[in-house]
Symmetry: C2
Subunit: 227 residues, 2 copies
DNA sequence: ATCAATTTTTAGATTTGTCTAAATTTTTAT
DNA sequence: ATAAAAATTTAGACAAATCTAAAAATTGAT
């Protein structure tokens, strides 16, 4: 009777676990710890164990007792599908409905579970096949291809170098609002004018303004080196 | 402790019950039978009884044992909110994503449960506040106002009268596909040329073509009388 | 008005996803 | 190498939403 199982669609909970495991690096070769998943998902390790077994049954992860979980090929495809949906909906919300980039996450968390291949492909088309979401993260294609951008953290750029702001590492609402308030937007050119040894804070130039930012800010902003 | 309860959002299942009860006329003064709800929702009467108690706890319905269920004011508002979302999403799918009117129902059934007031209001705005969905059903406003159209079934129109096709009673995929195939679309003018006593079939004129339709078809097409 | 048919509810079970608390395994520090 | 700490699993419980089977109430037909 068991061979039916993977014909059934995944539950919302299963999808969320897959997404979390992917996010924690479960696509690589080192498996993800039960505790890490529990923390990421704000749940208990025992719940993670239960779900790990179920996902293993469905062929989405490899699970070995006491050794954590690793996405299978099928699990990775599933994860990319969910991430694709999440990020496309984020673009839709920003581009078509005038949401700001700090408002989209919650709603996209719901929309990513809508089951209709046609729907998401049409949304993709409407948006003219965007490559990046509003936070600069790449959008997997329909076939699960993933194009990670050539980028580095602002905090790791050398003094007096220049780069274009292409993404954020932390996409919490508070960080994004801070960036808005200080008119730091994706696409802007940033130049590092000075570094403070004491606290690693930076003096940067962005859009003709000079501006002090803490290390914590710089360590959450991705820039693309000017070649 | 009980006064928290109605702050929590409704579950998907609760929303589906509310919608079904509304659909069965539970907004009027005669209450809806357990069996009718079970049939409508393709579930068992005992499940309905359980849910009736839960919805009554939450103040969404009045429930008296052995006497069925009646939506409260709050229940009616909830129902109208869900119907509003369902119908707006249907318009969105047709107008913005080129879905055909026989494809939208399933997807809208999922989208109607997305919880974000801003989202649906923005969708409403994007669509320029449509009054009717693709099947001709009216879309409740944000405040729950409902404008039922002045319409009647084609089968009830007198011989040789003329009307504009404004909606369908049955919106099953098979019926809608039949209409498409025969180029019967909302907005078209229909004239009744002849009625057959034997089987109540009609000879109609639509878009310059003459056309025979069975009573079953005519009894599922709404027209607006030409005044 | 009574009894049979129908409708509805109750009681008890099941599944999914979660939890707590206890047991077990693995890791780490000495 | 071993004991303490940390991580993980198991066992048993619970809430939500459902089901089946049996009991109870209502309805309807004579």
């Amino acid at each position: 009777m068991y061979f039916w199982r993977n014909l059934y669609p995944l539950t919302r909970s299963e999808e969320n676990y897959i997404k979390a495991i992917f996010h924690l690096g479960g696509n690589a070769s080192t498996s993800v710890a039960t505790n890490a998943i529990a923390e990421e998902m704000d749940t208990k390790p025992s719940s993670v164990t239960d779900m790990a077994k179920k996902l293993a049954d469905k062929g989405l992860v490899n699970y070995v007792r006491y050794q954590g979980v690793l996405l299978t090929e099928k699990g990775i495809k599933t994860a990319l599908g969910i991430i694709r949906k999440h990020r496309l909906w984020e673009v839709f919300l920003v581009k078509k409905l005038d949401f700001s980039w700090d408002e989209v996450h919650e709603v996209a968390e719901q929309l990513e579970h809508i089951k209709s291949e046609k729907l998401i492909d049409k949304i993709d088309e409407l948006l003219e096949f965007p490559k990046y979401d509003p936070h600069g993260d790449p959008i997997p294609t329909k076939n699960g291809e993933f194009q990670e951008r050539d980028k580095q953290l602002l905090s790791e750029m050398p003094l007096s170098s220049t780069g274009i702001c292409v993404g954020v590492k932390d996409s919490s609402s508070s960080f994004l609002k801070f960036l808005d308030k200080n008119q730091i937007a994706l696409g802007e050119t940033i130049q590092i004018l000075d570094k403070e040894d004491f606290d690693d804070s930076l003096l940067i130039k962005i859009a003709e303004r000079e501006f002090h930012i803490s290390h914590q800010i710089a360590a959450n902003l991705f820039v693309k080196k000017n070649s």
